[in-house]
Symmetry: C2
Subunit: 205 residues, 2 copies
DNA sequence: GTCCTGACTTTTTTAACAAAAATATCAAAT
DNA sequence: ATTTGATATTTTTGTTAAAAAAGTCAGGAC
């Protein structure tokens, strides 16, 4: 039974990998269950034996990505020189994550409305984890006496994350005001975010 | 001829007012040229005598709103106690503007893609004016010695505006991640923006 | 000549429907 | 417990027709 479950888990992993590749290269709507099954030389029906439906399969891949992403963050958090370093690591990690998985998120871009509820659970989970990490960093810096005490660190972090979120294409080219930035704009966005960090840390004074 | 133009301008104003009311209450797609003409007891054809088409009529209303909005900003700018007051006035004015004209902007919400180019000219115009005002405020504060010199004030203001833009529904309720916030969230957004101003001005230290 | 309209044409939206493609299920085989 | 071919169901796509709205124009009134 234990071995059987091992086998099952291995197969689930294989399916997840194949799905990830398809979703990453072609996006959600342009990959079919037949294609994923074909990549694995298995029947489409078998996919439904391991995963209830297509969107749950997608969500499973997404949870795996999220898990890896958060693990990467958490590994490094806890020992930073200062608050700026913590913010910087967060922004850089996030940037790399988006760049590396850009096409995967076409599901967000295109479907926009009527997404499965589970997607927001995962998004919320990531966000909460990020908030916790950054709030801890602030707390830690406060205790070390490096920054002035803050009434509500969580609220500050929320504003920080929202502000980061807002920095997506603006400036001279507002016509590109899409919910999701174009790939070629990712670098400019990243640079603006670095500036935001400086302002947050130092303030305008 | 001059009198004739006066008459023409008055009638254009009347059309603009009636259109504004319709767009404000029912949004762009749910108001018809026939209805606007009906409100004014004139023929639809006459509307086309004064305005080339529906979207230009809409844009004319929008330019009027934008003009009033900027006038309100500019009147007060130039004599503020400090940078915080300037940012505060900007955010408050913007908030009132959105609250008072909420439904008017359904055109943005719904059409999203394929909007007329002129809309982005106006949006860009507003943004540039805001940038200029705020950058001047920074410049002025710098010269008074109230804040440390800033390499590129315009870039800072751009980040500020983008960050404000980003603060639209986030937090615990990410499922409402629409491009345009729901009406009931406007107050919460406004409060977060006030916090952002504090952080920008004081910094986390 | 400027302002205005009714009647008209053109374009866009909507609904209904069928065909195709994709998702999802299941009885039976291993 | 796993796997599949066959089949059922749902979603997408394309077509068409009718309705509604946008937009035009010849001509009337002042």
């Amino acid at each position: 039974m234990s071995a059987a479950n091992d086998q099952q888990d291995i197969k689930r992993e294989k399916i997840l990998e194949a799905s990830h590749q398809r979703f990453l290269h072609y996006g959600y709507s342009k990959t079919t269950m037949n294609e994923i099954a074909g990549d694995l030389s298995m029947s489409k029906a078998l996919l439904y034996y391991y995963f209830p439906d297509k969107s749950e399969l997608y969500m499973a891949v997404m949870r795996k990505l999220a898990s890896d992403y958060l693990k990467h963050l958490q590994d490094k958090f806890g020992h930073f020189d200062d608050l700026r370093d913590a913010f910087l690591f967060q922004v850089n990690t996030h940037h790399d994550f988006i760049v590396n998985n850009y096409n995967f998120f076409d599901y967000f871009r295109l479907n926009e409305q009527n997404l499965p509820d589970t997607i927001w659970e995962t998004v919320g989970h990531i966000r909460n984890a990020e908030i916790k990490l950054l709030a801890n960093a602030i707390q830690s810096e406060t205790e070390k006496g490096n920054i002035a005490p803050i009434t509500n660190p969580i609220e500050v972090v929320e504003v920080f994350l929202d502000a980061l979120h807002g920095i997506k294409v603006g400036g001279a080219l507002p016509q590109k005001k899409l919910n999701f930035p174009h790939r070629e704009d990712l670098e400019e966005i990243h640079n603006k975010r670095l500036l935001l960090i400086d302002i947050f840390v130092k303030g305008l004074r």
